[in-house]
């Protein structure tokens, strides 16, 4: 991270952008797997049993965190653009980060 970018709000922007790009790659795969239910039920079942593996659950947790980070980051941007300005922007970044990690932990707790 270049020196002029090394502050909380820029990190929040970078996370929002990177999570968006990551989800761009995830979503087509996600819809492809859902599409298997129509004509390849056996393949889908095989895939679903694979997702029960602990390592996959861990990767899924990462996905949940990315999703939550992208959603809370998007709400943060909407708040900046459409609500009256608040001076506690860094706190907002901390809250979005906290909520994202909490969503991931909640998923992990229910993964077993």
């Amino acid at each position: 991270m270049k020196a002029h970018r090394n502050h909380a709000n820029y990190w929040a922007f970078a996370l929002h952008r990177l999570s968006g790009v990551a989800l761009l790659f995830f979503l087509p795969a996600h819809f492809y797997v859902l599409g298997l239910a129509v004509e390849q039920a056996a393949t889908l079942d095989m895939f679903l049993s694979w997702t029960e593996a602990p390592l996959v659950k861990l990767l899924e947790t990462g996905l949940v965190i990315l999703l939550a980070a992208h959603m809370t980051g998007g709400l943060r941007v909407l708040a900046i653009e459409f609500l009256a300005w608040r001076d506690w922007q860094k706190s907002v970044v901390a809250i979005t980060g906290g909520l994202s990690v909490a969503a991931g932990l909640l998923f992990l707790l229910n993964a077993g």
Binding site: A3, H4, R5, N9, Y10, E81, W85, Q89
Partner: protein
Amino acid sequence: MSSETITVEIWRGKEEGEFQTYQVPRMESQTVLDIVTYVQRNLDPGLSYRFACRVGVCGSCAMTVNGKPRWTCRTHIDKVAGDGTLRIQPLRNLPVIRDLAVDMTDFFEKWTQAKAQFVPTATRADDFAQVSPDDPQRKEASAGIECINCGVCYSACDTVAWLGDYLGPAALNRAWTLHNDVRDGGRAERLKAISGSGGCQACHSHQSCFELCPKHLNPTASIAGLKRATVKAALKGEI
């Protein structure tokens, strides 16, 4: 302290060039501008840089110091050179004339494009406008009017770097202060000027301008205000 020296790397050249290294004696309460001035007066008379007031008023002496744009006359070495080295470059996002001096033409041209000048509505026959300091609009304007046009925000802004015609934080901040000036008569035209390509909606709210503004102004907040104002004006069919 004066027996110690600091290693200083200074950019020499235009867009193409190289860093030259100098050893400069440390002094108490030494600023980055003091360092540059020492180099020019004692080590390398050919060094080009720009300054005027030396006390944080004129906005002439901004440079990139260890990767961050700063007003050099009020940036103490103790604050920015913790490891004892200093790298000084011209401001980013502006063409380099030579060494540390940049061409500010684009920066000020964009103020004109943003119609960031006061449009009077009163005549000599009118009495003074009565504006209460407690008026919410006046508070919005007052929060942004201390800009010294140093270009630090413009240099810090990645949107300026990515999108060449983006008006930039300083011009838009000025537009916002005028938008909140009840005496001004140019709001509709100004909102049109700052709502197109390269206007306020292009801002990504990185907030580097706010982070690095030496006057602690908040151009991101001003731009967010303009975004809301342009949306409202668009919904009303005014722009």
